[in-house]
Structure formats: structure tokens, C-alpha cells
């Protein structure tokens, strides 16, 4: 191997180690007994394995219940966003109606309103509905997204006009075309959006923290907060908590990396 190639690998490896270090450290601390944590650098190369930190994290952080909550909330948000986005995207791509441009601009305008800027009034609304500490509070505000609408609309616009015409002659109205042709053909975009939506929904922090206070509805991300503050002298607990809460997304990335990349980059391609 040429020295240049060796140099390139050395640089790549160095960067990879630095980038991966926080994840690696969390994993090795999470699977070793507390006593080992103070044994640097030995802790980086685990000799014995224990699941104790995970058990403790699940128990003291009540992560089991929180994981279920996160799962339920994420499922509803993702399902809801996919459905509302497909419907709206279809209207923008295939249905003739007056003021289409205006309505579309209004949809896109929602992208410019950061959720953080509306928490005060949204908190008030949720309170008014009596939804504090409920799944509704965690799900309802996120049941629609202009990003998904935009992404899926782009895919719909790529469906050839001939297919729309053919399906009209084959006897299908809008619903038949939507179900039988448009959605199946837009599957890559819908998949990319689904993965992206899952990532955002699962990782939410500020809103769930604001509107939930009880174990029955708090999500796993909020559960981590109690682990963070619990005990400064015990690193196993936060490390194990981070691993537990991160695992679903890790698997998501493992299996759907391609879709996620598509979802993340589609905003960059065209504004």
C-alpha cells in the first residue's frame, strides 16, 4: 500500500474513532459493573459483561412504561402524518381547485413557524381541551406536516400524465387512482418520509416535557431526564438509559439507512 493510502486510512480511522467515541463509551459503560467505570482506560475494553445497569435504568427510570408510551405516540404521529400528507399531496398534485397556489403557499409557510415559537399558545390550547397528561396532547399537534406533503407531492408530480389518463379510461376516479396507482408509485418517497417522521417523533423532547407530568404518558426521552439528574456518581444509569432510548433509532438506521438519507437530503435538493 502506498504511504498516501495509509495516510488516508489513518485520517479516516482517527475521525471515525472521535465521532464514534461518545456512543462507544456509553455502550461500554452500560454493560459493565459500576466499579469498572473508574478504571480508565481499562473500561474501554470490557472484560466482564453485566446487564445490571439496564435493569436498574428500566426500574429507576421507569423506562419500560416510557418505551411503550413512546411507541404508541410515535406510531400515531407517523401514521397520521403519512395519511394526512398523502391526502394533501394528492390534492396539490392531481386535483383542480381554485386558489391552489395560495393554499400551497400557506402549507409551506407552516415550515417557517418553529414549534418552539408556538409552545406558549399551544400549551394554553391543550390545557383548555383538558389534554395535559394525555396521548392526545402528544399526538394531535403533529398529525400534519408540510414537509411530508411537499415530499410526496413531488413524487406524485413524477407520475406520468398518461397513467392518470389511462386509469380514468380504465374506469377509476380520483380515489381509485390514488390507491391503485399514485400511492404505489410514490412508495420510495413515502418510505423516506415515514422513516424521517419516525426519527423526529421518537426523538421529541421539548413538547412532551411541557405537556406531560405523569408516568402514564411521559415518553422515553423525558424518562432520560430523571436518569440524568439522579446520581452524579453513577454513570452506568445514564449510559444504559441512552442506549435503551437510542436502540430503536439505531435499528431504524440499520435497516432503512437509504430511506433516511433520502428523507434528510430531499430538503437540500430544492427549496
Amino acid at each position: 500500500m502506498a504511504t498516501r493510502t495509509i495516510g488516508r486510512y489513518a485520517l479516516l480511522t482517527f475521525c471515525a474513532v472521535v465521532v464514534f467515541l461518545p456512543i462507544y463509551v456509553a455502550v461500554v459503560i452500560a454493560i459493565q459493573p459500576a466499579a469498572r467505570v473508574v478504571d480508565f482506560p481499562g473500561v474501554l475494553l470490557p472484560k466482564s459483561l453485566t446487564l445490571e445497569p439496564f435493569r436498574n435504568a428500566m426500574r429507576s427510570g421507569n423506562l419500560g412504561r416510557y418505551l411503550v408510551n413512546s411507541g404508541v405516540v410515535t406510531a400515531f404521529i407517523v401514521g397520521g402524518q403519512v395519511i394526512t400528507s398523502i391526502l394533501a399531496a394528492y390534492a396539490f398534485a392531481f386535483v383542480q381547485f381554485p386558489f391552489k397556489r395560495v393554499v400551497f403557499t400557506l402549507f409551506l409557510a407552516t415550515l417557517m413557524v418553529p414549534a418552539e415559537a408556538t409552545i406558549v399558545a399551544n400549551y394554553e390550547t391543550i390545557q383548555h381541551f383538558g389534554w395535559l397528561d394525555s396521548y392526545q396532547a402528544l399526538v394531535m399537534p403533529f398529525l400534519a406536516t408540510a414537509f411530508g406533503t411537499f415530499l410526496i407531492r413531488q413524487a406524485f408530480l413524477g407520475v406520468p400524465q398518461d397513467l392518470r389518463d389511462a386509469s380514468a379510461l380504465d374506469g377509476y376516479g380520483h380515489w381509485g387512482f390514488l390507491r391503485g396507482v399514485a400511492v404505489p408509485l410514490a412508495r420510495p418517497a413515502i418510505a423516506a418520509f415515514t422513516v424521517f417522521s419516525f426519527l423526529l417523533a421518537w426523538n421529541q423532547y421539548l413538547w412532551p416535557l411541557l405537556v406531560t407530568n405523569d408516568d402514564a404518558h411521559r415518553t422515553v426521552q423525558i424518562g432520560l431526564k430523571s436518569l440524568a439528574g439522579a446520581n452524579v456518581a453513577n454513570l452506568n444509569l445514564p449510559a444504559a438509559g441512552a442506549v435503551i432510548a437510542g436502540l430503536p433509532i439505531f435499528f431504524l438506521l440499520l435497516f432503512f439507512q437509504r430511506h433516511l438519507v433520502r428523507g434528510l437530503t430531499s430538503g437540500a435538493v430544492k427549496g
Binding site: 398518461d162 389518463d165 386509469s167 380514468a168 379510461l169 381509485g176 404505489p184
Partner: protein
């Protein structure tokens, strides 16, 4: 079984007139070809029959019914698209079946109809493939099968052969004629290819710039083109058209006409229009001699073998009087 009629149909897209005052009656069981260059309005006319576009003015009838404003699916017709418009995510079977499902045909009957249609077009072994696994010709057959499966009264075809290679196209032309005879329904077929028009049509409607130029059986349109446009659009190589004075040696020296002569009717001899040979093209089965007379190009069709002039020769071109087409010099309309 149905006739199709355009009654003074005009279609505008904003300021652009796509079809202007089209009045055309297609008989039941006819194979009518709408022929013209791209942008002449022929596809728009077809799409208006299908209900994919609505006329701005005038009426369209299918059989007894006036259909403008009627949904495409209620018009009892099927269409084959230039792109074939196969659903890429559906198998051949599902593609052919698709129009039956929307019409709630019972499953058993559906299977039977799909098998019949596939059998007629030689697709029986390909039913489980996806369109992307098929050749161009096979895709085209699937599009046809999807059209015939529900036995519509009218078939519309929009340049269905233009994506096929030359051999495939020739073979498919004959099959379409046969299919037309077997089904006994009305075909309206759009093409820019005059060979398709000549070989398949029972009647040809030649269009240009949104208006109908001539309607007639193919031979009649070829033998007596109604104007200069039709004369030059049909026939390959196209008809030679020169101003009257240039053709004076042939006995028609009038200023107010242009004279058309088909390349196969020009003879190289000792009398007639004097010209210089510029290029000789050999096509294998015949030769085209490109001449220039008084700044005008004239093409002569010659046999592949035997004597022929070469580049730079001075020649004389003549034609029999009955082979001269006379058109009005200003309007382009046929005068004799």
C-alpha cells in the same frame, strides 16, 4: 359498436387554438386514421373523444349520445397510449385486469376475459411479469390487451407504434388490421407516419395546424391530394412542387398555379424541364436522383439497376399530363 362524430369542435388552450372547427364523422366499424405532423391537433382531437379534454365549442357524439361533459369511464371506449401507460408496479395480469376491476366484473369472469385477451395477443406465458421485464413489442401488446379486454365500442390509439423498431412496427401494422377486422369495432388511430395511415386506414383524415385538410380513403388522398400540404405530407419521398413557370416545358406555364409531380412520375429523358443532377441516393431497391432546376429541387425515383445519371449531369425531366397536380398558387388548394 358505435360511430364517432365531431360537430364543429374547437379546442383552445388559452390563446392557442389546438383544434379549429373540426367537423368529422367516423362511421361504425371504421378504421379512421388522424394523420398530421406533431402539433397539428390530432392528439387533442383524440383526447376529446376520450373525454380527457373537453371541447371549447361544438359537440362530440359517440353513437347516439352526446358525450361532452361525460366522464371518460362512461364513454365505452378504450385507449392505447404512445407510452403504453402500463402501471409499472402491476403485473401483466393485473394491468389487463385493471379496467375490469373498476367495473366490478366477477372474479371468475374476469379471469376468463384476461385469459382471452392475453391469448389473442400471445401474452399467455407472460401474465406474471412486470412491464419492465418485457420488450417494447410485448409492452405494446399488453396495452392492446388492456384495451380489448372489456370490448369497448370504440378504440382510440395515440401513436401506438412509434416506440417500436422498424421491423416490429411493420409486423404490428398487419396485426392491428387483423385485430380491427376480428373485433369489428370502430378504431380511431392517431399517427404522424403516413405509411401507417396508408396501410391500415379505411379512411384518412389529414390535419394541419388544427384544421382538417382532407378526408378520404388512402389511395384517393394519395392520388388526388386536396392541397399542397396534403400533397407534400403523404408520399415518400414527398411530391415535388414547383411554381408554374418552372413547369412550363410540361405544358403548364401559368403564373397562378404551383405544379406537383410525384417522384415516381418524373422521367429522365431528352425533353422537358432542364435540370442538373446534384446527388444520387441509392436505397437498395431504388434510387433517388436529386436534381435542381431554376433553383428548385426535384426528386426523381429511378429503378435500382440500369442506366442512371451521375452527379453534375445535365438532364431533362418530363411527366405525363395526367400525373400533374395543379394547386392554386396563393391558397394552395387543388385546381386540377
Amino acid at each position: 359498436m358505435a360511430s364517432v362524430a365531431f360537430e364543429h369542435v374547437t379546442k383552445r388552450f388559452g390563446d392557442v387554438v389546438a383544434v379549429e372547427d373540426l367537423d368529422l364523422h367516423v362511421d361504425d366499424r371504421e378504421f379512421l386514421v388522424l394523420l398530421g405532423p406533431s402539433g397539428c391537433g390530432k392528439s387533442t382531437a383524440l383526447r376529446m373523444i376520450a373525454g380527457l379534454e373537453e371541447p371549447t365549442e361544438g359537440a362530440i357524439r359517440i353513437g347516439e349520445h352526446r358525450v361532452d361533459g361525460v366522464d371518460p369511464k362512461d364513454r365505452d371506449l378504450a385507449m392505447v397510449f404512445q407510452s403504453y401507460a402500463l402501471y409499472p408496479h402491476k403485473s401483466v395480469r393485473q394491468n389487463i385486469e385493471f379496467p375490469l376491476r373498476s367495473r366490478k366484473v366477477p372474479p371468475a369472469e374476469r379471469t376468463q376475459l384476461v385469459q382471452d385477451a392475453a391469448g389473442q395477443l400471445g401474452l399467455s406465458t407472460l401474465l406474471d411479469r412486470k412491464p419492465r421485464e418485457l420488450s417494447g413489442g410485448q409492452r405494446q401488446r399488453v396495452a392492446l390487451a388492456r384495451a380489448i379486454v372489456r370490448r369497448p365500442a370504440v378504440f382510440l390509439m395515440d401513436e401506438p407504434l412509434s416506440n417500436l423498431d422498424a421491423n416490429m412496427r411493420t409486423a404490428t401494422r398487419a396485426e392491428l388490421v387483423e385485430l380491427h377486422q376480428r373485433l369489428g369495432t370502430t378504431f380511431v388511430y392517431v399517427t404522424h407516419d403516413q405509411v401507417e395511415a396508408m396501410t391500415m386506414a379505411t379512411r384518412v383524415a389529414v390535419m394541419s395546424e388544427g384544421s382538417l385538410q382532407q378526408l378520404g380513403v388512402p389511395q384517393e388522398v394519395y392520388d388526388r391530394p386536396a392541397n399542397v400540404f396534403v400533397a407534400q405530407f403523404i408520399g415518400s419521398p414527398p411530391m415535388n412542387v414547383v411554381p408554374g413557370p418552372v413547369a412550363a416545358p410540361l405544358g403548364v406555364g401559368r403564373d397562378d398555379v404551383v405544379v406537383g409531380i410525384r417522384p415516381e412520375h418524373l422521367m429522365i429523358g431528352t425533353a422537358g424541364i432542364s435540370a442538373i443532377v446534384r446527388v444520387v441516393e441509392s436505397l437498395g431497391h431504388e434510387r433517388h436522383v436529386l436534381c435542381e432546376a431554376d433553383g428548385h429541387r426535384l426528386i426523381v425515383r429511378c429503378p435500382a439497376h440500369g442506366d442512371a445519371p451521375v452527379e453534375g449531369d445535365a438532364v431533362h425531366l418530363s411527366a405525363r399530363p395526367e400525373h400533374l397536380h395543379l394547386f392554386d398558387a396563393s391558397s394552395g388548394q387543388r385546381v386540377a
